[in-house]
């Protein structure tokens, strides 16, 4: 065929790039990246699970630090997976188990007096399950003498129908490793002593055995939940099959996830609202002060999907035909604009990350009157909003149907992005 090109096919070739990008290939790359990202989230969570077991068996400052490091490492791939939310119902229905936020941590363990007690929203905001083996929940007596993954997942999580009753997932584990950050908008993260897991007379703050049981059960549960999600992205898993069966709907899912994570979730709920409230609790990883990394790797996940490339935790790269390639065929300008917009966001989030690594934690950036900190956060928000506008144009250029980008009522003009 190559030697016998007709004039017509020459014309066709000159009008389109030499190597046509197939939607099915772009979708296959997306599934490959999801597989790899959730796979990395699982292996890093397994490492965390082992580190937690070590902390509980041999409580010391070293084993506590090792568990904290493992948690921080586990966040890197997980945050990059958040771009698979919103567009994929399998992920959306499951996500709250592993990354629900914000939480009323007093449900789980002891808190400082400044935390307060029950609230209008949540009668169980200060329940303290670790200190309370039996209690009544919505009229039913609960036996929590054994703290198990089942108890956490099926009784405590969203207890009494309240979303802030987050009993499972990364943030519950984060609270049990770091404790409350009582420094407000000043320097410093949570400072839970390792002796909270000590045995006998060394135990601090009471119920160390139950605290250890909770931490181990919650971490086991995280591994279990991630195993489930990895299976959904195997070639015969529900998420992968749904996308492969309908490449047009898959493109819609990709754009929906990119836009909704950028706009309503990250720019709105996780960043803008915190600035409005100047509240140090309004940071995604509020116990560990790891929020800058969470924001950075959320942004990175959007870039991964667009460019069709993910760098695994072991340094290998998973890549293939990308959404950018597909868009460039129909609208080269928008394809370039979107790459630039995402780049700009990553520069802004990178500057926030650098500032945090140099000592200005995210909760300090939220302080009323910290103009420099506010500028870092605002630059990130503006970058995310700007890239959402370009995603909207990409939706139009690709003719993608039914893309609904999640909003946030904290954003000044929630309807602007739909115009």
């Amino acid at each position: 065929m190559k030697r016998t090109l007709t004039s017509l096919s020459v014309l066709a070739l000159s009008a389109a790039p030499a190597f046509a990008v197939e939607k099915t290939d772009v979708v296959a790359t997306y599934i490959d990246i999801a597989q790899a990202t959730y796979g990395d989230a699982l292996t890093t969570a397994q490492t965390l699970d082992a580190a937690v077991a070590d902390l509980i068996a041999n409580p010391s400052q070293d084993t506590l630090e090792a568990a904290r490091s493992a948690w921080l490492a586990a966040r890197v791939p997980y945050q990059q997976s958040e771009v698979f939310r919103f567009g994929n119902p399998v992920v959306d229905d499951w996500e709250g188990k592993v990354n629900a936020w914000p939480l009323d941590e007093g449900l789980i363990d002891y808190v400082d007096a400044s935390y307060g007690g029950a609230t209008d929203e949540n009668s169980f905001a200060a329940l303290n399950v670790i200190a309370t083996p039996t209690f009544t929940l919505s009229g039913t007596e609960v036996d929590a003498t054994d703290i198990t993954p089942d108890l956490i997942a099926n009784t405590l999580q969203e207890a009494d129908g309240v979303e802030a009753n987050v009993a499972s997932g990364y943030h519950a584990i984060e609270f049990l490793l770091w404790g409350q950050d009582l420094n407000g908008t000043d320097a410093g993260a949570g400072d839970r002593p390792y002796t909270d897991y000590a045995t006998g007379a060394d135990c601090t703050n009471g119920n160390c055995d139950r605290r250890g049981d909770y931490l181990q059960a919650a971490t086991d549960l995280l591994v279990f939940d991630l195993e489930y999600m990895v299976a959904q992205w195997e070639d015969d898993g529900e998420a992968a099959v749904t996308l492969s069966d309908d490449p047009d709907a898959a493109i819609t899912a990709m754009l929906t996830g990119m836009g909704s994570l950028s706009y309503g979730e990250q720019a709105g709920e996780r960043m803008r609202l915190g600035l409005m409230l100047n509240d140090p609790e309004e940071e995604h990883d509020c116990f560990s002060d790891n929020t800058y990394n969470s924001h950075y790797y959320d942004g990175k996940g959007v870039q991964n999907v667009y460019l069709g490339s993910y760098t695994r935790v072991d340094g290998t790269e998973v890549s293939g035909p990308s959404l950018e390639d597909l868009l460039a065929e129909t609208d080269a300008q928008t394809a370039e604009d979107l790459a630039t917009a995402i780049d700009d966001t990553m520069v802004a989030l990178g500057e926030m990350k650098t500032a945090a690594e140099n000592g200005m934690a995210y909760d300090q950036m939220l302080a009323a009157g910290n103009a420099e900190g506010e500028a870092y956060i605002t630059a990130g928000i503006e970058g995310l909003i700007a890239q959402t506008r370009v995603i909207e144009r990409a939706v139009a250029s690709l003719g993608a149907q039914d893309v609904m980008i999640e909003g946030s009522d904290s954003l000044d003009n929630p309807d602007a992005v739909f115009e």
Binding site: S114, G116, D409
Partner: protein, 336 residues
């Protein structure tokens, strides 16, 4: 009166001369001049009265302060659904009333202020930069009607800081509407915000639709919770006993908006549904804080009320939308 007042009463006077009264007698012009602006003027007046009352007597049990609070709160509710234009600048919407408050943000703002007796309350400009949750009517409600913060010299100063800030916020909103009224009335190809009649119609229709959605899904849906776990403490402003009055004021104001958008008279179907909602409202008058949601029989009445509002929402959006030739757009509750 506050230090901001002079500037903004000037702007207010100017607005009357800037809007070309009667220049274009149409639905938009009528709605802006006869519906929006008078209600905004009313909030400005009641916010000023609230600040005056706090200046005279800042004690939480002051009857005049409490009456002024109720009036300002309800006058704000009457315009709250006009959540576009000047209201969206500088977080003003959230700085007036911070509800729903799923994250307990109001208490999280008040607790450190009061705990540290933060002197920020003596500096209006600095106070304006603090958490939106701590400087509006929701925060004031906790000071006046809650039991968590005992009255002190500090809570008195905080009360006055809030009333001054609220007055400033509504004056800014009203001042912003001076230009914004023209932006809506003078829509067209040259107008950067509203390029056609349809765009302005859609804005108002969305406000009507979203207002009814807030009434059904938030004002009633949040306290209803589930049958097994009703949540009376999630009702709006329940400590002040304003949950039901706020709903009634909202419905009445939305009825006026629908009437104005319909050219002065509602379609029969929409009128019937508004009448049904008002009758259902009468059936729960004995529970201004909506605490009856916790009682099975009372709960049933609230569910009926919620359903009538949901029906009204469908009928009104269709009727008024047909009349204007547009459909309601997205609002910030979408995606929740």
């Amino acid at each position: 009166m506050t230090r901001f007042s002079c500037l903004f009463s000037l702007a207010l006077t100017a607005s009357l001369t800037l809007v070309p009264l009667g220049a274009r007698a149409d639905v938009v012009s009528d709605t802006v001049k006869s519906y929006v602006l008078p209600r905004l003027d009313r909030v400005v007046a009641s916010a000023a009265a609230l600040d005056d009352a706090a200046t005279k007597d800042c004690r939480p049990d002051s009857e005049s302060l409490r009456v002024a609070f109720d009036q300002a709160y309800l006058d704000w509710v009457a315009v709250q659904h006009l959540n576009f234009g000047p209201v969206q600048k500088d977080n003003r919407y959230f700085a007036m009333v911070f509800w729903p408050d799923a994250r307990n943000a109001v208490n999280r703002a008040l607790r450190p202020l009061i705990g540290e007796a933060n002197p920020i309350v003596n500096d209006p400009m600095a106070f304006r930069q603090s958490s939106v949750a701590g400087r509006g009517l929701s925060a004031l409600e906790l000071l006046l009607f809650g039991d968590e913060y005992p009255a002190s010299d500090y809570t008195c100063a905080l009360t006055r800081a809030i009333t001054e800030d609220v007055e400033q916020t509504v004056r800014e909103i009203r001042a912003g509407w001076t230009d914004y009224a023209l932006t809506m009335i003078e829509r067209g190809a040259e107008n950067a915000t509203y390029k056609s009649d349809a765009e302005v119609y859609r804005q108002f229709l969305t406000a009507l639709d979203a207002g009814l959605e807030v009434d059904a899904d938030l004002r009633l849906g949040r306290p209803l919770g589930t049958f097994d776990a009703p949540k009376p403490a999630r009702a709006e402003a329940w400590r002040a006993g304003l949950s039901l009055p706020a709903l009634s004021v909202s419905i009445a104001s939305l009825r006026d908006l629908a009437t104005s958008l319909s050219g002065g008279a509602l379609d029969e179907d929409t009128r019937t549904e508004f009448d049904r909602v008002e009758a259902a409202l009468d059936s729960v008058q004995d529970s201004p804080d909506l605490s009856l949601v916790a009682d099975p029989a009372g709960r049933f009445r609230v569910e009926v009320l919620q359903q009538t509002i949901q029906t009204l929402r469908r009928v009104a959006a269709a009727d008024v939308g047909d009349k204007l030739g547009v459909k309601a757009g997205f609002n910030s509750l979408d995606g929740d």
